[in-house]
Symmetry: D2
Subunit: 369 residues, 4 copies
């Protein structure tokens, strides 16, 4: 309720500041009996880690996660799982100039006004670094969901700045620094980023995340709809300014005769709904897109004010991502996984007796909840 | 927690089905001492009411709200305010054909699969009719926020199907059946809708909602960010498939040098952020846009299956809105008001001692929380 | 969250004031498919109803409950179940003298100080009348728990004022106006109450509630322990000043060699724990006792102050229970049922995969969760 | 929601097992600007620490707390405060015999049945060691409440086994190993405990906790009553089997003419209510008593079963408290502080506008909320 906890039954509470001694999360509500090790969580942490290509920040954060509780002899016990990540690479001097000025596009001003005090080092609590514990926590959900229901999460970049990225094949995603489902366009994307860096500017990105192997029936209307909780989680990611489910904003200009996905004994014939109808999963893939704004930390000078309200010129030096969206794919996957996990537990609570074992469209959700 | 409650401290719990005896809401957490009558809530209920023009459903639902508790001698007492709206115009026969078939684009299939049972009359719980109690509940928040902080909410239609609606003046909104901030374009919009009705088809719409007089400092990061809770609430409205804050998806192709709103001693020089930075309000107007999909209830025949999985052709007769977006503006305003109200209370709880009475940019939030 | 909702997954939100137009509750989270009618809920409402003997208040409140939603063709649909009870017998003039004075032992003073306003008619929100919606809501839980797991709830009076009531047989409970599990002592109890009424005074009572057919494994430590949630719910009943689980305060002077319940292949050999160890149910009967203070509304004059702080003498006329404990048994059963129901759902969410189908002590929990 | 979080707005989420690498808590919702250091929290941690006298366990646990986040330059920032306590003195071999047997009176059986797996080392999650993070977290609340409202918490032992401890003076509490408000009786208490240890047995205790300087108006009826949340928190302490507010169970045999506390312009003339009426604080001292059962870990042999259900004889060696109640006083104070802190924030949210600055009985709550 105090704002740092995500989830109703699978609850992730994060803590920490960018340059404090440590960041981490407490994951409460994980079912017992899941085989779990720190290495399971390290996989996605490494995917979001900085310094992996010239197109992202060169900060070196190993982001080694330590499991402090909730696991006994390699298995979860049903008790809270505490995850700890010690901060290592803190060059606070990089951020000297933000101690007494408000960086445009950043949360400096709002945190200062809300709390009357803020930890300015590296953006403190509002730093994108705080997505690391979320990614670690989601690693637990991802493993459990895959083992129990075969649900998996795949995200990719669908647009970089002005460049739309045509979908070619999921197989390409791990083989380029952009998480792009595209091979032919990579050189163009790299030139684009090199240009941007030279200019000391930044750009935004559009990320699309999907969940496959989804069961039908997840979602708790009217308010805790599956897509509502997804929108909430996605908007909770730093720099996200928009969320779409399925057709999203394109549905505004679609006709009802086209948009409504037809049903057949073999399943739906299209997925404009993005896998959700009336706030409840249809058994089709979830398809979610998010808009990520351009990085606010740039070398270009911008107008701002200092802590006393006097006008200043701000230039943000330091080692920043020219496009935070490049590292956002594993984070968006993580958020989607946490929401789906939460709703699987919510569904088991209220509807465990419902025979979703024999759905009308058997093909689309073989597994039962 | 069970899905029908919105808000952390200003909690709206709704109940009811489209054709049941009644629908309503319990609003818990309203501060005491607010002068309140049913008439205060009727204003917005009438704005969303059907049958007000030929472009919306011709159902006649007076939607008279009754206050059952929480008000004594015309003032709120701090106890739960129960709102009751009796259902009157129920022609269940209109919906006969949906008893044993799943309407494409509707929640029939997902509700049946989740619960193993559903009230099919008028869409039951998944009917847009259930937005009425939300609008009534938000009337309480709107009145309190206006009296205490001068916060007001104005929404309008920014796109109807393929037609973008240029912003002319807020003053036009009440004077046309579309809530359009535009006068010159109304005839075109009316022709567009007449065409659509003749075709027995439907279209989507884009609605933009704003909050003015916003204080700085609302929002509870990391997860219960103001924009995250807004996205959650908006996606909870029937037929919404996308949510944007400020520049939204346009920010993807913007440069950091452009997107970041500059600060000056007189305030921000632009509002690409839509009034939120780091999940906390900046004191600027909140600007939120939502995508509403085309109505799924259309006269055009579509492929579907019946309860036993056999293929059928579905045509949805009855009195439907050819564009549910036309009546969505007061609903979107309501959701925004409920979220802002909730965050004002959350802020008072944790930060009542913070001197937001003397903000750095005094001009932008004269009032204190 | 705003204080009027009980439960994590099976959520009961109550509303209403003693002399307002109506009182009621919204029950959210009830599993679908339960056969339910208003009559099912009327049974316990009639057990707590006033005017059933000369030993309780002579107010006539039929307390007819109406189901407004969540039930279709006689079965729950999984959507919120709204329960409405219209207030009928309101003689506000009986309470004229409490409009501007604070009755000792009542909530008049604290409500006035907290909210700056209060509905004084019949005690407003703080009236024991508000236990009626709780009893109605619990009727749903009781029916579901009995049908699914054979869990049943039986409460009785174990002490009336100074008179301890020896346990004879559960069978006696329905056959006397005190819910006493005792036949021989009834005349003595009746004389005791007649005396008290003549004196215009009141007394307290101790109520014991049990749950039989309990499965092992209910409870969500560390904080949402089964016994912690029970204590919370019981202390939420008007006039309750103490809660005990099992041996309760007697355990203070017990030795560990005696108190710890031995285990055998046939089960536990005693139940000093009251059915809970480490916050989790053992599979034995739950045994909970509560202390109910003497009715504060009495004819004896007491010192108090008026709204402006001046000393006054207060005598509470009107039709009051000389011992509110006499009608408290069905209320205590209701609270226990709501908590157990909630924890059954919580357990299904997190531990549905655990083989509690084959417990170590099969005899004690044949059913699986 | 998953059971390991206490509080609505001041949220304490604990994690850890007795013999895992670490235990700790995340405190979310603390107001910004509070001067805070680890030393502030160490004071109460040392009061509950084992090994401080011959009457408690001789385990050596320094319980050094580390603050990982939420504090910048010595002040709280309003972000989550993570508290870490590394486990040091773990002689798991002491507990060898409980790996495959269920100790009577312990949570071994229920945890195994609920989760199908448990960490048996030192009782794992169900160990009283987990009260340390609660005490640390409460240190934050205690400091804030004292500085802002002058609210303070004092607890003491009111009964040890069969020996009632007459109240002499609060001043005696820190000067004996029992937290007894009594000087003359200490030798008797020491002999009593020495006897018990020789017998290899254990006893229970009754602890009374008070809060002074309470404002009027705390509590959120109908369900989140101040006393209901107190009962919930107290029952969450290991080994607690009963909770009383004010007169508690004594009120059962009291008369209404006696129990109801009279009001005068100078305040209440007695405090049988224990500082709560209708679930809301009266401005008098809170008075709460709890019953703690005898330690279940004793040298006496008891009947039990092993993991496969076969009968065994269990003797619990190791270094145990012959009366866990002796160290429970700081823990009970901590729980009370956490609940009061939470309700202060809840009250500020809903009733910040109420003029509790000018209460009817000014003497009793000088401060405003």
């Amino acid at each position: 309720m105090a704002g740092s906890t995500l989830g109703h039954l699978f609850c992730t509470t994060t803590f920490g500041e960018s340059h404090g001694p440590a960041i981490g999360a407490v994951v409460d509500g994980c079912p017992p009996g899941l085989e779990l090790s720190a290495q399971d969580l390290q996989i996605d942490l490494d995917r979001r880690r900085p310094g992996t290509s010239r197109h992202v920040t060169q900060r070196q954060e190993p982001d080694q996660v330590e499991i402090l509780s909730g696991v006994y002899q390699g298995k979860t016990t049903g008790t809270p799982i505490a995850l700890l990540i010690r901060n290592t690479d803190q060059r606070s001097q990089d951020y000297g100039n933000i101690l007494d000025t408000f960086r445009p596009g950043h949360a400096d001003y709002t945190y200062q006004q809300k709390y009357g005090i803020r930890d300015p080092r590296g953006g403190g609590r509002s730093s994108a670094r705080l997505t690391a514990p979320v990614v670690a926590a989601a690693g637990i959900a991802k493993k459990w969901l895959k083992e129990h229901y075969g649900i998996e999460f795949v995200g990719y970049m669908s647009q970089l700045g002005d460049l739309a990225i045509p979908f070619e094949d999921m197989a390409h995603i791990p083989h380029n620094p952009f998480f792009a489902p595209n091979q032919t366009m990579i050189p163009e994307l790299e030139d684009y980023m090199d240009q941007l860096r030279k200019q000391g500017d930044s750009c935004g990105a559009k990320i699309t995340v999907t969940a496959t192997g989804m069961p039908v029936g997840l979602g708790a209307p009217l308010f805790d709809k599956l897509d509502a909780d997804i929108a909430y989680a996605m908007m909770g990611i730093n720099a996200v300014k928009g969320v779409e489910i399925g057709s999203g904003f394109a549905s505004v200009s679609e006709r009802g005769s086209f948009h409504g996905d037809n049903l057949t004994p073999e399943g739906f014939t299209s997925n404009h709904a993005g896998g959700v109808l009336g706030g409840i999963s249809t058994g089709q893939d979830l398809v979610v897109s998010i808009a990520i704004k351009p990085t606010s930390s740039i070398l270009t000078f911008k107008d701002s004010i200092d802590a006393t309200g006097n006008p200043v010129q701000v230039q943000t030096k330091g080692r920043h991502d020219p496009c935070v969206g490049i590292r956002a794919t594993p984070i968006a996957e993580a958020m989607l996984a946490l929401v789906v996990m939460d709703h699987v537990l919510l569904h088991r609570a209220q509807c465990a007796d419902v025979r979703s074992a024999t759905p009308v469209i058997a093909a689309q959700n073989p597994q039962t909840l």
